[in-house]
């Protein structure tokens, strides 16, 4: 930063002012992050105890409010089922787009609507499942699997878009080499394209799972909030975000304390997933 001749004092000053402002704004963006994490750890650790993780919410108005076992297990079950639906479907659509559809008119339309889906607010997916499945006569009522479906709708476009990027990065020469050796298309896909793109696929999938795990709105209408732990996906099921939301609404100190503990648990789970995603993407050979 040697002041060259020819740059007047005024220009130099405005340069310095502008740079400082950009740096300050960057710092400003990180202030909430630090505050949230600090506050979360401070309040959340206070609520953690062995029984916090091993008991269900008691629902008693006074005394021990209980822990968050049902919420943790519920989140894992709901998100696992959602992933089991959204990951194969999302990667399948991406495979179609990259391997078969390419730049055709139909593929462009699919790509466009996947984009549209990315912009749909998560609450709209919840509402959709609510009116089609929860209110429907026949198999009405709240259920864990309906929450999974709502989350799967939310994950699908995220998985598809990231998978499409990962699959596009597979060099065309690899595909051509495999085809030239006489491999049928499905083998090329299964043995060459998917393995090469694997790290990219995994990264996208983990980010989608992390996103789904933190969603509250779609679960309120579908899996709802209950106290008991259940392995039955056809029954109403608790989840961490829904539990936090309901505890905040109660405005009782001991429930708010539980909300902080649950929030810390949720954030730790999500951070583990995103960190894994980062590590995997760093190990990727392509891209």
């Amino acid at each position: 930063m040697t002041p060259l001749a020819g740059i007047g004092a005024r220009r130099r000053r405005s340069d310095r002012v502008a740079r400082t402002m950009l740096a300050v704004a960057t710092g400003l963006a990180l202030v909430p992050l630090v505050l949230i994490l600090f506050y979360l750890v401070k309040q959340g650790l206070g609520a953690w105890s062995p029984s916090f993780f091993t008991t269900d919410p008691s629902g008693r108005f006074l005394g021990d409010p209980g822990g968050i076992r049902s919420a943790i297990l519920g989140t894992i079950e709901i998100v696992a089922l959602a992933s089991a639906i959204a990951i194969p479907a999302g990667i399948g659509v991406a495979l179609y787009l990259v391997e078969y559809g390419r730049d055709g008119r139909f593929a462009t339309a699919v790509r466009y609507f996947v984009d549209v889906m990315t912009g749909v607010p998560s609450i709209a997916f919840g509402l959709f499942i609510y009116i089609t499945l929860v209110l429907a006569t026949g198999f009405g009522g709240f259920a864990g699997w309906k929450g999974s479906l709502a989350l799967a709708l939310l994950m699908l476009p995220i998985v598809t878009r990231s998978a499409e990027v990962a699959l596009t990065l597979v060099p065309e020469s690899l595909r051509e080499a495999a085809l030239a050796l006489g491999a049928p298309r499905w083998r090329v896909v299964a043995r060459v394209v998917l393995p090469t793109a694997l790290p990219g696929l995994v990264t996208g999938v983990l980010l989608a799972v992390a996103r789904a795990a933190g969603e509250t709105a779609p679960l309120l209408f579908t899996a709802t909030i209950v106290k008991e732990t259940t392995a039955n996906l056809a029954a109403p099921m608790n989840s961490l975000p829904a539990q936090i939301f309901s505890d905040v609404g109660q405005a009782q100190d001991r429930l708010v304390a539980r909300a902080w503990g649950a929030a810390l648990t949720l954030v730790v789970m999500i951070l583990v997933l995103t960190t894994l995603a980062r590590l995997v993407s760093r190990r990727s050979r392509i891209a």
Binding site: I7, T26, I36, F113, L127, P184, W186, T216, W260, T274
Partner: protein
Amino acid sequence: MEAGAISAGGGRSILERPPLARLPDRALRWGLTALAVSILVLIGFFFVRLYLESRPAFARFGLLGFSFANDWDVQGGVFGALPLLVGTLITSATALVIGVPVAVSTALYITELCPARARGTLTAMVELLAAVPSVVYGLWGFFFLVPRLRPAEQWFADHFSFLPFVGGHVAGPNYFIAGLILAIMIIPIVSAISREVIATVPADHKEAALALGATRWEMIRTAILPYSRAGISGAAMLGLGRAIGETIAVTIVIGNAPTIGKQLFDQGYTLAAVIANEFGEAASDPLHRAALIAAGLLLFVLTLFVNLVARYFVVRGERGKRAAPGTPVAAG
């Protein structure tokens, strides 16, 4: 696959696979196509479902009557969504005004100014903001921001009451707090897309500006910003789409009063928040339920519109890039 001259029995080229061996190929192709088709069907079904279920509300109050009447009265059975629409627009606009300048600044700082060593860390930290779930933002906003910012807000309201929509009593949860939380929540996405856009500015342009004696800031102003203006607008619009659809964090800190607040620090309501709060009680009241679904449809159409505009900007930005090589770009 063109059959060669050499052919096996049955008129089939030896290079061709027997029909049975081609089965998996066909299955894969049609299976994937069917999957892609089902996405389109799903989205169509989604829209039709929301529309059909919301019809009672539109039939009762009319499309305009529902969207723009200033009366949301659950007990009275009257549903006009204007207070919710206004709440959604005020909070998202606040989020844009606060969040976009900060996000674009971080993008510029990270790509152009900060030491190369700090780049990765800063990027990761900004992205960490996206890993915090909505409900945790709400929790933090309600128990940390609301009580701590209240004196400052009251001071601002008292001393700047000459500004429009400022002045009077500051409510605990209010539009401004919701907007501030939304601003924090949209920073990562706006910053990430802005970074991508800024990264596509050709090095030629930047080096040319510097070679002509521009300072760093002048280079940013004359080479980077004009080139990436469309892309950054697109990023801002995507952030707006996020802010409009955000539900839980806003529900916790907006105050949930179905009236139009007179000023920025009043309690309010948003389209998404009303759905999250009232759907339980609405299950037994068909009109109320239809009204909530209509609010959802309104929200969906609003985000759709914003996202289409965003897409237009981003695509235009990309097209500009493709056309750019060789052609001098007029610097503003």
